[in-house]
Structures are given as C-alpha cells and as structure tokens.
Symmetry: C2
Subunit: 361 residues, 2 copies
DNA sequence: CTGAAAGCGCTAACAC
DNA sequence: GTGTTAGCGCTTTCAG
C-alpha cells in the first residue's frame, strides 16, 4: 500500500504486538506465505518453512486469533453453559470437554447461567457475540427467545445431561425419567415400601423425583413423600431434611390429595429415600446416624452422581452413576466434527446410567 | 465503496449473520452512528437511539465481538489458568471471578494447565492469541519462557493463591509458609508432639508442609514425618495413607538423616497430621475410625480448604479456611480497573487465612 | 508452490 | 451529534 514516497505514516493504534507482517518481512516472504507456513505447512516448501519458523522463534510471534477468526469465520472457541461451576456434578464433563477440545486445538469458554434461568438470555448473547464454533449446553434450553436466537446464529449446539424428543441440534445425555423409575423399582425389589424423595429444585432433579413417584404408585406403593430443597444442593441441606422426611404428619406429596394418607403403615413414615445428589444423601446419612437411625436397616439411602465421597462414606452410599466424562468427550467430538465440516450422522447419544448398589440400601 | 455501476458483486464469504451495517441501513444512519448508539448511547440523540434499538430488535442483531476486539484492541475476555477444574479448591474463585467479570461485561475463558506443568506453555500461547484483557493465574508461574512471553504480551496478569516477593504483575493470595507455621504452632499448643504431614505433590502444598516441618523443628519437636501423594488429592489417597503414616519404621522426612530417630517416644509414631486438603483429611479420618483409632484422642487431623464436607464430617474437621471467593473478586477488580485504563495503586493483596478449630484436633 | 488484492465486521481518528 | 475514511491482523479468492 504505502510503498513509495510518503514516509508511510504509521497511523492509528496498532497494539504494538508482533504481527504476521513482521514475521513475513523477516523471513523474506509474503504475509500469506507465512500464514500458510503456520497453518498448512504441507503447502509450502521446506525452505520457506524453515525461514518462517525461525522468524517466529526470533520474534516471539503469537498469532492474533481474533483477526484469524474474523477472517475465516472459525474462532476455534467452544462455549459451555453450566448452571454453576460450584457443583461437583459437571466437573468431569468440564474436564473431559477441555481436554478433548484442547487436543484438537480448541479453547473452552465457560459461562454460568445460574439455576434461576434469569441470566440465560444475556449469557447466550455474550456467547453468540464471540462467534464460537460450538456451544455446549447443560440441560435443555428453557427460554423460547434463546432457542430462536441460537437457531438463527447457525452455531452448532450440543445439549447434554438430558434427553428430549425435540433436541435443538445435537444431544448427548440420558433419561432422568428412566433413572427415577429404575431406582423406585430397585428399592421396591429390596422390600422397601415407604418411599420418599429429597431433591434440589432444578428441572432434572425434579424429573427424576416425579418419575420415581409415578413408578412407586404403579408398583402399588403408598404416595411418595417429596421434600424439595433449593439448588445447588449441599450437605447441610441433606442433614436438615431428615426431620421433614421423618415427620409424622403428612408432608406434601406429588400425588392428588385424595390419595394422601392411604396405605399408611406403622413404624417410621419413611424407609427409603432417593436423593437428587450424593451431597444430599451423605448429609442425610450423617444426620440419620447421629439421631440413632440405622442405615440401611431403618432407612435406605440412594444418591445421584456417584461422587467419590459416596463410595468412601461409611456406610458406602448407593448411587446412580453417570459417565460425565463420556458426555464431555462425546459433546466435544460432535462439535469438532461439525467445525471440520463433516456432517454428524447420529445426532443423539443416550449415554445411559448405572445404579451402583452399596451398603446404604 | 460500491455505489455506482457494477452490481456490487457480493464477493467472498460473509458469515451470513446480521451485521452492524444492516442495522444501520435499517435505521437510516451511518454504521458508526449505530455503533455509538449501542456502545455509548449518551453520545447520540434520542431519536437515533430509538431507531437503532428498533432495528436491533427487528433483526436480532448480535454484535461480532471478534471484529470489535480486533478494531478496539479490547476483547472483553479474561482468561483463567487452573491446574484442573476437578479439584473443589478453586471453585469458589472461579465462581466469584465469573460473576464479578460478568457484571462488568467480561467473559471468562478457562484453561487447564494440569499439575505437571507440561502444557503450561502451549496453554499460554493459546490464551495470548485471543488477546484477552487480562489473565488470572492460579499459583505463580513456573516456566521462564512463559514469564517472558506473558510480559512481552503486555496483557495484565494477576497471580493468585500464593504470595511472592517478585510478582509478575498483580497478585492476590496468601502465604503458604505462614499457614504451615500456624498449624504447627497450633498443634504444638494443643499438646501434640509427634507431627506428620500428608500432602499432594503440588508446589503450594509442598510449601505448607515444609514450613510446617521447619516450624516443628524450631519448637523442639522431633522430625516431622512427611507422606506425599499425587495431586490432585482424593479421599481414597487419604484412606490409603494411614498405614504409611502409622508405620513403625522411619518414614522419609524432610530433615537431614543425622537428626532422624532422635527424640522418638513410645506409643503410636504420630499423634497429629496436617493434610494438604480436606479430602485427604476426611479420607484419613474415615480410615482411622475404621481401624479403631480415636480422633482426636489418638490422632489429631487438620485439613486445608475448609470445604463444606470438613464442617459436616463427624467429627468435624479442623481446617485452614481461605477466602477463595474473595480472591476471585479481587482478581477481577484488578483486571477490570486495568482494562478501563485506571492504574492500580496497590498491586499486591494478602488475603490471609483462618485456622478453623473443630473437633478433629 | 507463491503472491496480490480484497475484505471479514467493527471502531479510532479526524472532519463537518 | 453525525459522517467519512482508514485500518485492526488475518485469510479467502483468484492468478500466476
């Protein structure tokens, strides 16, 4: 551009950092050639490759991915939306996601939507603005506005940790309904009759608890007592919930009022609890022991998430195990495939779950 | 540009998304005016503001932050480097960081460096390439090459969770040495004489353990037995370590060989253990109880991190509490100040720690 | 295999 | 208050 007469007025800002131009000049090639040496080394002669590498090393050049992303419409960035990072549940997924993406040259951006769903729209706008090559959602999307926005953006999306017949795009998760049913059948099979749930108030925990209650009813069991605590769940909440669970008066249930009170038996009102997290389960178990309730004899406890602490507790806590890392790996693969332009054949993966039986039930 | 004759050949790619141009055209103003309406509404007439807002709403326009960042050299992105997200220790910091940044309109990008320090350089390059407005490091930086790179990039940096006389830039943390000393003095004051450490092999845990051992020596206590496990620490590792800690033969210590064996007394070889995490402490405590060792009578246990589980364990575990959220908030503030162009007066904040005494010691 | 030109979508500098 | 112009640093397109 400025090649001839005027002293090439160094206008405007310029971050001051080394650019591809500088590298190219030092290597004695055109900028585009330097670019190719870095991005598609196969397309360039050995000689050029050597000179460019040397220039990069000498200058400490670090490519500006903002510029690259703008020019190529590929940001090599993947965004993740979690309710909060402070729950241990999604940690394995985050870890696996980061590692798998990283191995393919992508970075992960994490956003917290909170459990209220309040910030979801704002967060999504911030994410879309960065033009990520993919978005991973934990759970399925609530707001309709957000759904439309996402669809309009054309960015590949993976919903995770849930299953729905109407996925936005791609999906890797499992059925919370199936979990609730499996646990109910299991406890029934172990001779438990007075079932209860202790759940955080997030949508997925609620789904499990409701399916659990329905399955219990189908098995001919009395109404399931349901105690709900605020998400994210804590040990403390688990401890505090014992009283509510064991109270003699009728606790709120998910069944119609006409059925309440039917089929009550003598003895403690509850002989098995399905908790929506291992944290709740451990808290409950701790408190039960302190109050002289025998686990599992008086009370069976089943958790969810299969955290290390569930296995290491005394007694060891039965729990529903989900392959969180597997979800992360699969989600990353989906996105990478798409980013590389390959079409994804199977867009939905049910990763399943396992009920791990331990001493608490 | 193309205003006259040729049919303005719609060249090249164009992501297809709505751009500021489209919004401006619809609102009947120049692009820069639309830009101002969005970014600095005070500089624009009410009439223009209304028309632009309407155009944005109608088109579903989401600004391309890649382009904005490139043009303004402000990406509104902050990068965080953690060893791994799978440890609960930094979760509060991540949470607080995300929230504080978010409130100011910044996004957080998370990178995992691993505990090996192997990936650190590559990760840093990936981060610098995104031209974030700030970088938060957990711990202080090891590799010299990385230090130079970071310095050269000119990006504001906050080191956290540690203290050093030679910070790279800004710093918010606490002294691990002071922690080790405080715990040693505390246990000595409680009448414990045969001290031990159980630590992950990360640099900060090692620092605490070594300071603990030196302080014990200064107090005239026998050599401190040191058991080291691989980071990240787990409950399992804590359980497994009991045997090594209680073995009668000499375990490796951090003191010279000539001092070993001096001052040995009758009874169990160890009567107090300082663990580098609450996970280790809880595992140790669980195993001790199973083997019939009374806590705290036979064995005092102190953890680190003050996780909820420490307080909720039975017996409740004494622990060193660090204000992880405070670290996150302060780090975010530092970076925001810098990004807004304000100079940061005090560049180092010692956030301190508290030893929480509970039943385990 | 290498290069020149054009422009991704936005904002900093000046004008008016 | 608003517009014009010129890039930010890179990569695509098209030509050798």
């Amino acid at each position: 551009m400025s090649d001839a007469a005027p002293p090439a007025k160094r206008s405007r800002r310029s971050s001051g950092a080394v650019t591809l131009h500088d590298v190219a000049r030092l290597a004695g090639v055109a900028p585009i050639t330097a670019s190719r040496a870095l991005n598609t080394p196969a397309q360039v002669s050995a000689e050029v490759l050597r000179k460019v590498s040397e220039a990069v090393a000498r200058t400490g050049y670090v490519p500006n991915r903002l510029a690259g992303g703008l020019a190529s419409t590929r940001s090599r960035l993947v965004a993740l939306v979690v309710p909060t990072v402070s729950g241990p549940v999604f940690l394995d997924t985050i870890q696996a996601l980061t590692e798998t993406l990283d191995a393919a040259g992508y970075q992960l951006m994490v956003g917290q939507a909170g459990y209220e769903g309040r910030r979801e729209d704002a967060l999504l706008e911030a994410i879309i603005g960065r033009r990520p090559d993919g978005i991973v959602l934990t759970g399925i999307l609530h707001s309709d506005a957000s759904r439309r926005r996402l669809l309009a953006s054309g960015i590949p999306v993976v919903e995770t940790w849930d299953l729905t017949p109407t996925p936005l795009d791609m999906l890797v998760g499992f059925s919370h309904q199936a979990v609730g049913e499996a646990v109910a059948r299991y406890l029934h099979g172990r001779g438990r009759r007075r079932l209860a749930t202790l759940s955080g108030d997030d949508p997925r925990a609620t789904q499990r608890a409701q399916a659990f209650a329905r399955a219990a009813e189908a098995l001919g069991l009395p109404p399931v007592r349901a105690v709900v605590v605020k998400a994210p769940t804590t040990l403390q909440a688990g401890r505090g919930a014992l009283t509510a669970l064991m109270a003699e008066h009728d606790a709120p249930t998910t069944l119609p009022a006409t059925r309440r009170g039917r089929g009550r038996m003598a003895g403690p009102p509850v002989d098995a609890v399905f908790c929506s997290s291992d944290l709740l389960a451990l808290g409950l178990l701790t408190e039960a022991r302190m109050q002289g309730l025998a686990v599992p004899d008086d009370l069976a406890v089943v958790g969810f998430g299969d955290l290390e602490m569930a296995a290491q507790a005394a007694p060891a806590i039965s729990s529903v195990s989900v392959n969180g890392a597997g979800i992360g790996v699969q989600a990353a693969r989906f996105l990478i495939e798409r980013a590389e332009g390959r079409a994804v054949a199977e867009r939905v993966v049910d990763i399943g779950f396992r009920l791990i039986e331990r001493h608490s039930s």
